[in-house]
Symmetry: C2
Subunit: 406 residues, 2 copies
C-alpha cells in the first residue's frame, strides 16, 4: 500500500481525542452528555414538509435546488443570511461578503486551506474546541494556547503571543464558547478587532451558538468592529435549523471570499443546493423567529435542570460556568477527582458519558490540563433524564471523593 501524506500522522493525536466525543454519539445504548447535537424536538418537520412540496417542482426554485450551484452559494439563502441573521444583530454587509459552506466546520477547513502552510502558528483558546483543533492539525499548524477568564480570551496574553509567534490566525468561539460556555465581553471584542488591524493578523470568529441565548444581552459580532478586513466570521445553521442539512457560512472581504470559492471548488464544488433552497424558504416565509423562541425555551429548561442537579448533587468545591446560552456547561471537579480517569467506570456503572475535559486542551498546555474537568451538553436530553443521570453522577463523584479522603 502507498504511503499516506505527512498530514495523516500529524493529525492522529487530535483524531483520537475527537473520537472520544463522536464515538459516544453513535452508541445509542448510553446516555450521552458528551455530544453537541440539537434535541430531536428541535427539528422543523412540519415546515419542511410544506416547503418541500413547493420547492420540488419544475420551476426556478426547483431547478436551483437540483442543479450544480455556484461555489459562493445560492443567492436566496445569502440574502436571508444578510437580512435575517446579520443585519438584525448589527452587522451590515453586502451579498458579495457572504459565502455558504457545508456546515459550520467547513469554514475552518477552507480557511486553513487558504492560509496555513505546515509549521504555521495559530493562537487558540484554552480550552479550545477539539474538532477545529483536529482540522488545524490536519494542516500541520502549531498551536499557541492563550489564557481565558470569565470574559473570554485575555487580550494582554493574546497581544504578547501575537508579537512572539506571528500567527497566521487567532481562532475564537466568542459566544457561549465550546467547551466552556463563556462569552467574550464587549470590550474584548473591540480590542481583538483592533489587534487584528494593528498586527495585520486574521481573527477567525466562529459563532455557531450566538442565536441560542437564554438570558442576558446579545453582544455584537467581533466582525462588526473590523476596520482592516482581517476579521473573518464563520457561522452555522446546525444549531438553529438542522445539522443534517450541512449549512454554514463565512463573512469576509470579497477578495477573501473569491479565494475561498476557488478552494471550495477544489473541495466539493458547491454546497448542496437542496438544503440551501429548503433553508432559504424557511427563512423567507418568516418561520425563523418563532422557531428560535421555541428552541431557546426548550434548551433553557434543560440548562436549568442541569445546573440545578449539579448544585444539588456534586461534591462540595465543584465549580461550573453559568452559560447564558449555547449547549454546554463546563464543570471543574474538586481536587482529588480525575474525570478523565473515571470516564470508563462511569460509562460502565452509570451507563452515562460526558465530554472529557482533557481533550479540549491542545498541545502546548501543561500535561494533565483539564483532567478534573468535564463539558456537559444539555441540549440533547430531556429534563427528567438530565436530572436523574446528573444526580447519579454527583453521587458517584461524592462517593469517590470520600474514598479518596479515607
Amino acid at each position: 500500500m502507498s504511503h499516506y501524506a505527512a498530514r495523516i500522522s500529524a493529525m492522529e493525536g487530535e483524531v483520537q481525542k475527537l473520537k472520544v466525543l463522536t464515538e459516544s454519539l453513535v452508541n445509542p445504548g448510553i446516555v450521552s452528555f458528551a455530544g453537541g447535537a440539537p434535541g430531536k424536538e428541535a427539528y422543523p418537520f412540519d415546515q419542511l414538509r410544506e416547503i418541500a412540496q413547493e420547492v420540488f417542482r419544475p420551476g426556478p426554485m426547483g431547478y436551483e435546488s437540483m442543479k450544480y450551484g455556484s461555489s459562493i452559494g445560492v443567492t436566496e439563502l445569502r440574502e436571508e443570511i444578510r437580512d435575517k441573521l446579520l443585519a438584525p444583530r448589527g452587522l451590515s454587509v453586502k451579498l458579495e461578503n457572504i459565502m455558504v459552506t457545508a456546515g459550520g466546520i467547513q469554514p475552518m477547513n477552507l480557511l486553513s486551506q487558504l492560509y496555513l502552510d505546515p509549521g504555521d502558528s495559530i493562537l487558540v483558546e484554552t480550552p479550545s474546541f477539539v474538532h477545529t483543533s483536529m482540522i488545524f492539525k490536519m494542516f500541520q499548524a502549531n498551536f499557541v494556547p492563550c489564557a481565558m477568564d470569565d470574559d473570554g480570551l485575555v487580550m494582554e496574553d493574546v497581544e504578547e503571543k501575537i508579537q512572539k509567534h506571528h500567527p497566521k490566525f487567532i481562532y475564537t468561539v466568542p459566544t457561549f464558547q465550546n467547551p466552556t460556555g463563556v462569552t467574550m465581553s464587549l470590550e474584548r471584542r473591540k480590542r481583538l478587532a483592533q489587534l487584528a488591524a494593528q498586527y495585520d493578523v486574521v481573527v477567525l470568529e466562529d459563532d455557531p451558538y450566538r442565536e441560542i441565548r437564554y438570558s442576558g444581552e446579545t453582544l455584537p459580532y467581533i466582525k462588526s468592529f473590523d476596520t482592516s478586513g482581517n476579521v473573518i466570521l464563520a457561522n452555522s445553521f446546525s444549531k438553529i435549523f438542522s445539522p443534517g442539512a450541512r449549512l454554514g457560512y463565512i463573512v469576509a472581504e470579497p477578495e477573501i471570499i473569491d479565494k475561498l470559492c476557488n478552494v471550495k471548488l477544489g473541495t466539493d464544488t458547491c454546497t448542496n443546493t437542496v438544503t440551501q433552497c429548503l433553508c432559504a424558504e424557511f427563512f423567507r416565509k418568516g418561520y425563523y423567529p418563532d422557531h428560535l423562541r421555541r428552541l431557546c425555551d426548550l434548551y433553557r429548561s434543560r440548562r436549568d435542570a442541569l445546573l440545578r442537579a449539579i448544585d444539588a448533587s456534586f461534591p462540595e468545591g465543584t465549580k461550573h460556568t453559568l452559560p447564558d446560552g449555547g449547549y454546554y456547561a463546563w464543570v471543574e471537579l474538586p481536587e482529588g477527582l480525575n474525570a478523565s480517569a473515571m470516564k470508563g467506570e462511569v460509562a460502565e456503572k452509570l451507563n452515562l458519558c460526558y465530554g472529557d475535559g482533557a481533550i479540549f486542551f491542545s498541545e502546548g498546555t501543561p500535561a494533565g490540563s483539564g483532567c478534573n474537568c468535564m463539558r456537559l451538553n444539555f441540549s440533547g436530553l430531556d429534563e427528567e433524564t438530565i436530572d436523574t443521570y446528573i444526580r447519579k453522577l454527583g453521587a458517584f463523584f461524592c462517593e469517590k471523593l470520600e474514598e479518596a479522603s479515607k
Copy 2:
C-alpha cells in the same frame, strides 16, 4: 492582509482554466455546450415530493435526516449503493468498503488529503478532467500525462511512467471519459489492476458516467479486478439523481475508508443527511431503473442530434469521438482552425460557448495541445437547440477555414 498558503498560488493556473467552464454555466444568456450538467427534464421531482412527505416526520428516518451523520455516511444509502449500483455491475463489496461523500468531486479532495505531499507525482490521462486537475494542483502535485487512444489509457506508457516517476496514484475516468467520451477496454481494465498490484501504486477510478449508457455492453469496474486493495473507486449521484444533492461515494479497503473518514471529519464532518435519506428512499422504493431508462432515452437523442449536426455542418477533416454514453463528444478540428482562439468571437457572434479543448491538457503536455479541440456537452440542451446552434457553429468554422485558405 495575511499571506496565503503556498498551495493558493500553485493552483492558480488550473483555477483559471476551470473558470472558463464554470463561468459559462452561470451566464444564462448564452447557449452553453461547455457545461456538464444534467438536463432540467432529468430531475425526479414527483418522487422527491412523495419521499419528502414521508421522511420529514418525527421517526427514525426523519431524525436520521436532520441530525449529525457519521462521517462514513447513512447506512441505508450505503446499502442501496452496495445492492443496487455495485452488485448488479459485478462488484461485490461489504458495507465497510463504502463511504458516502459530498458529490463526486470530494473523493478526489479526500484522497489527495490522504496521499499527497507537495511535489508528489500522479499519472493523469491526456487530456484529463480539468476540475480534478485543479484539486491535485491544490495539493501541489506534479502531473505526468499518459497517452490515450480509442481504448483509453495506453498501458505500456503507464507502466513506463510508473517505473520512472513512482507516482502516488494513477487517475483515470475509464468510462465515457471526461473530456473525450472514450471508454477503456476490458483488457486494459484488467491490466491496470495488475499494474496497481505489481508496482504497489494506487489507481483512482473515477466513474461518474458509467450508468448513462446508450449503446454497447457494460464493462466491469477496474475495482472488480483488484487483488491488492490498491484500486479505489469513486462515483457520483450527480448524473443519475441530482448534482444539487451533492452525493457521491468511495469504494476501498476498510483501512483506507477509516483514514478517509478522519479526513472527512476534518473537511465537513459528514455528508448532508437530508439528501442521503431522500436518495436512499428513492432507491429503496425501486424508482431508479425506470428513472435511469428515461435519462438514457433523453440523452441518447441529444447525442444523436449533436453527432448528426456535426457530421452535416463541420468542415471536412473534422474528427469526433462516438461516445456510447456519458455527456460529451470530443471534436478535433482540421488543421488551420484554433478553437481556443476563436471562442471569444463565437460567443459574441453566435451566442454560443463550448469547452475549450486546451484547458484539458495538463502541465507536462506540449504547448498548444488541444487548441484545435473542443469538448461538446449534449446533456443539457434540447435536440432542436443542439441542431440549430451546432449547424451555426459548423458554418462559422467552414467560413473561417475558407478565409484561412485564401
